[in-house]
Symmetry: C2
Subunit: 518 residues, 2 copies
């Protein structure tokens, strides 16, 4: 079989094909689909299963760093949102507004009941700083109440005019951490701690290499003093902002009167932080690990790590095949990997086994086993590894005696997880250019104004800059826009000295990442 499981290849060298390929994987791997609600998606069981595995792992990391989960209202009174000026400015254009609390049949048509208009409209939360800050202002009285370390798993809504499944949707799922501290030092430490939690989660659990760093001023969260991100390179060379952590200073504390009595008995404003990671990460996993046969899931977040397809033929041997398959599944479930029991499925759906096999290839199940009558009789397990599916164009099949297979699966999954990370890391490192140090060279490399969607694969440029803010930064941002480029972050890991600023020729103060982005 040399035909690929998808009809679209990701790698013909231009981005429109990559976008088609992405859509094909999301569809063919049964991850999600558009819904009748503008910009919102339906997350199908296999896609949601990946999110559940992500949640479980990240939730553990969040709790291990001392945070507790809580839940705050979906609705935010309009006046709350308006309290922090930059915050409302940043979100006002994409807010869903609730104005009525009842429907009424008027002249045979169901409409919002004019008599049930809200005095103050509610916003469907785009993020929860203001509604959680309100609770903080009630809960925090003394330094003994600090730090407050909370996290919330929730849905949020930001109206999206150009939606893309998982990457940009009007409604998405995420966790948002919100903390309050007695000092800037503690709050900044918290901000960096959670950035590191995101890095470790992305790299160790999603096998997705990222670069941690601080966003330039124009890319800060509305209302933040500093915003940090992890950025990941997708297979088309674009950057995906994959998680952000914000030091909010006392901006929100001042807007909402979050104060505490310090050691000296004086009232002082809290320093707050927030940090979030969303279902966008599912899109990141697809664009990091997918290939022309569909999705390849890192075993740590695969809802099923081993899928067993019994090849049934409506013949008496079927019973033996099923018995062998079930026994194998049982034995595998007794094994552990990544600190959890193996997740194993016997796929007994009433379809052709070849169709089922290719369905699991497209879905990216790490190990796919096919059991026929001969396998059952001889006690052999024939399987495919999704990470190295083919030898040249041919699908590669492996065979092992049953007990040996059962014993080897955990190590095989760990090896796959590492292999996916290594390949992505190698690709990322190989595609960050540090030798482009002037604006002209940048223009030459990325090509001048043109149709970004059809431009060839380019990676990132890492270059020195003077870290300007205000009008000067705005001017740089505008120049970059003509190349469809953006500033991603200034990596935490910086050289001792840097050359002159790529944009202005002034003395550089740090290196910054420049690239096209999602």
């Amino acid at each position: 079989m040399s035909q690929r499981a998808l009809s679209v290849s990701r790698m013909t060298g231009n981005r429109s094909t990559f976008a088609d390929w992405y859509q094909a994987v999301v569809r063919e791997a049964d991850m999600a689909e558009p819904s009748p609600v503008r910009g919102a998606m339906v997350i199908k069981p296999w896609g949601y299963g990946v999110w559940e595995e992500m949640q479980r792992d990240l939730d553990r990391r969040i709790k291990e760093t001392g945070h507790q989960n809580a839940y705050f209202p979906l609705f935010i009174p309009l006046s709350f949102i308006a309290k922090e000026a930059e915050h409302v400015e940043g979100f006002a254009k994409e807010m869903a507004v609730v104005t009525h609390h009842r429907l009424k049949n008027i002249d045979g048509k169901l409409v919002p009941d004019p008599e049930a208009r809200l005095e103050e409209p509610y916003i469907v939360r785009p993020t929860s700083e203001t509604i959680i800050g309100d609770a903080f202002s009630r809960w925090i009285k003394s330094h003994r109440d600090l730090p407050v370390l909370l996290n919330q798993w929730a849905n949020v809504v930001r109206w999206e005019m150009r939606p893309r499944l998982f990457l940009r949707t009007t409604e998405f799922l995420w966790q948002e951490g919100h903390t309050a501290h007695a000092s800037e030092k503690e709050a900044v430490e918290e901000t960096m701690r959670m950035l590191e939690v995101y890095r470790a989660f992305a790299e160790d659990t999603l096998a997705m290499p990222v670069i941690s760093g601080e966003k330039p001023a124009n890319e800060r969260f509305p209302g933040a003093v500093a915003t940090y991100s992890i950025e990941a390179m997708m297979q088309d060379g674009k950057a995906l902002q994959a998680g952000t952590s914000h030091y909010l200073g006392t901006h929100f504390a001042e807007a909402q009167n979050i104060r505490f009595q310090n050691d000296a008995g004086e009232l002082a404003y809290c320093h707050t932080t927030s940090w979030g990671l969303s279902t966008r990460m599912v899109g990141g996993v697809i664009m990091t690990h997918g290939d022309d046969d569909g999705l390849r899931l890192p075993p740590a977040v695969a809802p099923r790590q081993v899928v067993i397809v019994p090849m049934l033929r409506d013949k008496p041997e079927d019973a033996q095949v099923l018995e062998f398959a079930d026994g194998l599944a049982q034995a595998l479930r007794g094994q552990r990997c990544f600190d959890e029991r193996l997740r194993v499925l016997v796929d007994t759906r009433g379809q052709k086994s070849a169709d089922k096999r290719w369905n699991w290839v497209r879905r990216g199940a790490p190990i796919i086993v096919e059991i026929g009558a001969r396998d059952a009789a001889s006690g052999t397990v024939t399987f495919m590894r999704r990470d190295v599916l083919r030898d040249g164009d041919k699908v590669k099949s492996h065979a092992l005696p049953r007990d040996e297979f059962v014993a080897k699966v955990p190590a095989m999954l760990v090896e796959m997880q590492q292999g996916l990370f290594d390949a992505a890391k190698k690709r990322t490192v190989a595609n960050i250019r540090s030798d482009i140090t002037s604006w002209d060279a940048l223009v030459e490399y990325f090509g001048a104004v043109g149709d970004d969607e059809n431009s060839e694969f380019k990676g990132w440029v890492r270059a020195p800059w003077a870290r300007p803010e205000g009008a000067e930064l705005e001017a740089i941002d505008q120049r970059l826009k003509t190349l469809k480029l953006t500033l991603r972050n200034a990596p935490a890991d910086q050289p001792k000295s840097v050359g002159p600023c790529l944009f202005t020729g002034k003395p550089g103060v740090e290196e910054v990442l420049i690239s096209r982005a999602y």
Copy 2:
């Protein structure tokens, strides 16, 4: 110490006190609090922790019965809701309506942007039959696609004019199962299977005895053919509907064109079901197990099953006390109970240890350990059991050698779980009267029209009835309302023959439960 941890007692024999007591427990146990959003609550970490334990256990039961989780949009186009006539009739009066997707600053005031008015308003989901039914209509083509067995964990909104924390809130969290089947038989089986899952969850995990049965026609879910519930008796004798499972017939399938090609090649409508259980259950746990010292949590859903309070005095011995406490916690975490590792906390907050002890009593942590310097030196563990906190008025303290304590904790927690269930079961059984068989006797027992809030404790009445529908049922419902009573359900477990109908004197067909209710 003979003083109780709460200032309000639940059992002075009238309901206004019980309501005050409930509010006091919710507040003093740090479970939840009202929010600035009308009718919506903030679920605090301890309350949310209980919900997380419930979720984990119920999610496992839902998956073990073959369901998968997925996620559907929060917003529902108004036209979808309007498709099923009874459905929209049932929910129209309590719907939050989104009418705009942007705010705008007009004359210095932030308002919904008139130019961003939605052509078709969206409803914030009060339940998801219609938006999920729409997906079903796209996904289901053939009998080979059936059954579809999905579940969703989500927030829902039903506008609430008289909110009560956990019991009735404008926004609440729940799971909603939605399934589609080829036949009535299979769909009814599914409906009953999930009712049984709820019963087992309530009784085994929440130690909350319930009675499963079918709701009378007037209490059906809007659009359902049949609605089943589990009903639990609270300590004030009122009933709490604690979970419902609906057989929807082909009503929603017809409204949304959910059809499949059957074996014979003909198009047929699917039979669908839905079933849900919400954060209301947290309120049920409080009203089932709480006492005058606060909450008592069933160990299976206690976020912390053992809390260790080191008694620190800012003296050199503190180090030894802390070391002993941490070592004990480590040893306990090596133990398992209810198929999970023990959940243990060492409470090192900077407060007086007596305050911390009482805080954990009010929160209902099953086992509370206090470690002083003498305990650490002698290797003794001094502890309180929250299920049997007192001997008469005095708080009862136990002491065991460390290793013996560690070994005994799992069995102790199992015993507590069973003890809480047994006590609640005994109370429930003892307070269902079967000897009230006429309307006059019912009036005499519950008292005529009066202030329900101040009436004495009454349990439930189980009586024969003729199971009328339509106008006759409506008349009975109105009569019951004069006594502030409702029909709860007709228990699944019925005697072989029943006497005449309590309401009409006609031949009875089954027994039904009558009570006041939340």
